[in-house]
């Protein structure tokens, strides 16, 4: 099992002919993701050539792509200026899940897009996220697939490369994953820690969860409270940004300590108070989750 994506995921790639879109479409196809359609306005009727000679039809609009191929998930690689529009179009097309890789989408655009998607009952992951991967089944996004392996651990993170580091650590001690989810580093994200924790708790194959947070906002604190109130499965965590100065944006638009709120210290404290073992460094994560499982 897994959460959000699996063997039944039928993916449409929005921005399939772009530089990032085409590169990652090939990578996803190589991993075995079922890509049924691509969308690039003005290029409808063309086809995208997959790694083994298979072809993916390209459509001008999401509505055509979904109607004709039965796609149930979309992934967005379009530039920031057009990303919110692409989300609205996807949410209106009938897919149940929209994964937004694009970084630098204006926050007020996202406020509108999230409100619209919520009303339609469509799950948005991101923006500014690496997507997710359910090892052995499907990959939607940009996570490097060679570091993952099948197994019982669920992983949820606000970061991209830090996720890779943690997955790499897990895999190297033989702990595979059900699903690895990067929820994104932006201030307004569609799927948060709690959504993922709830799904992992309900997933029959996940036995423990690794949660990677960072400075900014209070999502980690709320997630910690959720864990102690609602979860039976063990959760271990890490918080990045212990050395970050207040008031400065640390790369991610959402990674900023404002006033006294959002510090690594308060998040680590919230984790510990709610029974979530905190790793002092990424290399300790695998050991902690092993201990928690035993």
């Amino acid at each position: 099992m897994s959460i959000f994506i699996d063997n039944d995921t039928k993916l449409v790639v929005q921005g399939i002919t772009g530089r990032d879109g085409s590169f990652h479409t090939l990578q996803m196809m190589e991993y075995g993701t079922k890509i049924v359609a691509g969308v690039t306005p003005g290029k409808g009727g063309q086809t995208f050539a997959g790694p083994d000679g298979e072809t993916v039809p390209i459509f001008n609009a999401m509505d055509e792509a979904v109607t004709q191929t039965g796609a149930n998930t979309s992934v967005i690689y379009v530039p920031p200026a057009f990303a919110a529009g692409a989300i609205l179009e996807a949410a209106d097309s009938g897919v149940a899940l929209v994964v937004v890789i694009t970084e630098g989408v204006p926050v007020l655009d996202m406020a509108r897009a999230h409100a619209f998607a919520r009303d339609k009952g469509v799950r948005v992951l991101g923006p500014n996220c690496p997507g997710m991967i359910s090892p052995g089944q499907s990959k939607v996004g940009i996570l490097p697939s060679h570091i993952v392996s099948e197994g019982p651990i669920g992983l949820v993170s606000r970061s991209g490369t830090l996720t890779y580091e943690a997955v790499f650590q897990l895999t190297s001690v033989g702990l595979g994953q059900t699903t690895c989810v990067g929820i994104g580093g932006d201030p307004l994200i569609g799927t948060n820690f709690i959504d993922c924790l709830e799904a992992f708790e309900a997933d029959s194959e996940t036995t423990g969860v690794v949660m990677l947070g960072e400075i900014g906002g209070t999502d980690e604190q709320e997630a910690a409270a959720y864990v102690s109130a609602n979860m039976c499965k063990p959760v271990v965590g890490f918080i990045a940004g212990q050395t970050a100065p207040p008031g400065r944006r640390m790369g991610h638009a959402g990674a900023i300590i404002s006033g006294s709120a959002g510090t690594a210290e308060e998040k680590m404290k919230a984790f510990e108070e709610n029974g979530i073992a905190v790793a002092k460094r990424p290399a300790d994560l695998a050991g902690l989750i092993q201990d928690a499982l035993n």
Partner: protein, 379 residues
């Protein structure tokens, strides 16, 4: 991006908000001239990206032009929370009857712009929110409709009883929302919003932060960027498309991805060192970015060792390796460099580095420990 009070006021005026006039002076003489033009009492206000200007002595009332010149002399060049005052705003003093607070910001939890208003103006709103939350009224705006007339009225009605003041304030709240949206702001604040004894409502202070992701489509707002308080290295990094924050330590860090970059800084500290910077070279693996990153790190005189931590997902390790070799080829880097590269094309990358004589590490802990040791003067 933060903008100055006088810039926020210009955006407020453009939206129709009642803001008293004001002009910028960079010398005491200019302040004197402006004060003389206005006549009467003026306020001389330091323009820096920091709160607490009044407490720091950066806001002064002047009875006449001579006194304005004197205050400007004291305030210009003053240090407020580490920032040097280079400009003052000279504005006519207002006859203040009451002071209120009106602000709007993006609420992460509600995922939308949220207004906060309070009759307790002129003080720190976070303090009011913590101590006396009943004195604040909040309203989340549906981004699809914008603020509706009855909502603006509901907020204004919380501040005043007088129908004329409520009417003026309702209008101003709507205008503030327009200014907020049209400038791509993440925060816009009027503190204080005053009423005068003549029954007028005016915004006598203005504060705004702009969402960095909006700037590509708002050149007029981007033009308000004040780089005078930023280190040259941060300006250069922005031009190169790198995300960089200068810190005070001696281990220069070059990492791909913001989360891993923060975790790397934390690990430097864990092993007893101090990071010199946050630097995310981003997802794309353009060798030119690596060159720019090395130039920026080496321009910081505090740096004693340079650490690369690259986890190649999208970033191709061989491109980064080529960038390091190329950069050190023409930069004459005299500092020790230690490198950890793993992920896409790592074998190729390690080959390139080995040929150029760079030691490469496979684990993040090993490379960070080594960098800290080198920065401390070890071999």
């Amino acid at each position: 991006m933060d903008i100055h009070e006088y810039q926020a006021k210009a955006l407020f005026r453009a939206a129709g908000i009642a803001v008293p006039p004001g002009e910028i002076a960079t010398t005491p003489e200019e302040a004197e001239t402006i004060a003389a033009e206005y006549g009467g009492t003026v306020v001389v206000k330091a323009q820096v990206h920091s709160g607490g200007r009044g407490k720091a002595g950066g806001v002064k009332l002047a009875k006449d032009a001579a006194e304005a010149k004197g205050h400007a002399t004291a305030i210009l060049g003053m240090d407020i929370k580490g920032l040097t005052v280079e400009k003052v705003l000279v504005t006519p003093a207002e006859d203040i009857d009451t002071e209120a607070y009106v602000g709007v910001l993006v609420d992460r939890k509600k995922q939308a712009a949220t207004f906060m208003v309070s009759a307790e103006g002129g003080v720190d709103i976070e303090h009011v929110a913590a101590e006396t939350p009943a004195l604040i009224r909040k309203l989340t705006v549906d981004p699809r409709y914008g603020i509706l007339p009855h909502q603006a009225f509901w907020l204004a009605n919380f501040l005043y009883d007088d129908p004329s003041l409520v009417k003026q304030t309702s209008k101003m709240i709507t205008q503030l929302y327009d200014a907020f949206v049209n400038s791509g702001a993440s925060m816009a604040e009027i503190n204080p919003l005053i009423t005068t004894s003549a029954g007028e409502v005016k915004a006598i202070d203005a504060k705004m932060s702009i969402d960095d992701s909006e700037l590509f489509r708002r050149p007029e707002v981007e033009a308000m960027r004040d780089t005078s308080s930023e280190p040259a290295s941060e300006i250069k990094a922005r031009a190169a498309g790198l995300s960089y924050v200068k810190l005070d330590g001696d281990v220069g860090c070059c990492v791909n991805g913001a989360g891993l970059a923060m975790a790397t800084m934390d690990l430097v500290k864990y092993y007893g060192g101090e990071p010199a910077n946050f630097l995310d070279i981003g997802g794309s693996s353009n060798p030119e970015k690596v060159v720019a990153a090395l130039e920026i790190i080496t321009s910081d005189a505090n740096v004693k060792a340079i650490l690369f931590n690259i986890f190649g997902g999208i970033t191709r390790c061989d491109d980064v390796a080529r960038g390091i070799v190329e950069a050190t080829g023409h930069l004459d880097v005299r500092l020790p460099i230690v490198i950890r590269l793993t992920g896409t094309n790592e074998e190729l990358a390690l080959e390139i580095l080995a040929q150029a004589g760079f030691p490469a590490y496979m684990s993040m802990d090993a490379v960070v420990e080594k960098a800290v040791e080198l920065a401390a003067g070890g071999a």
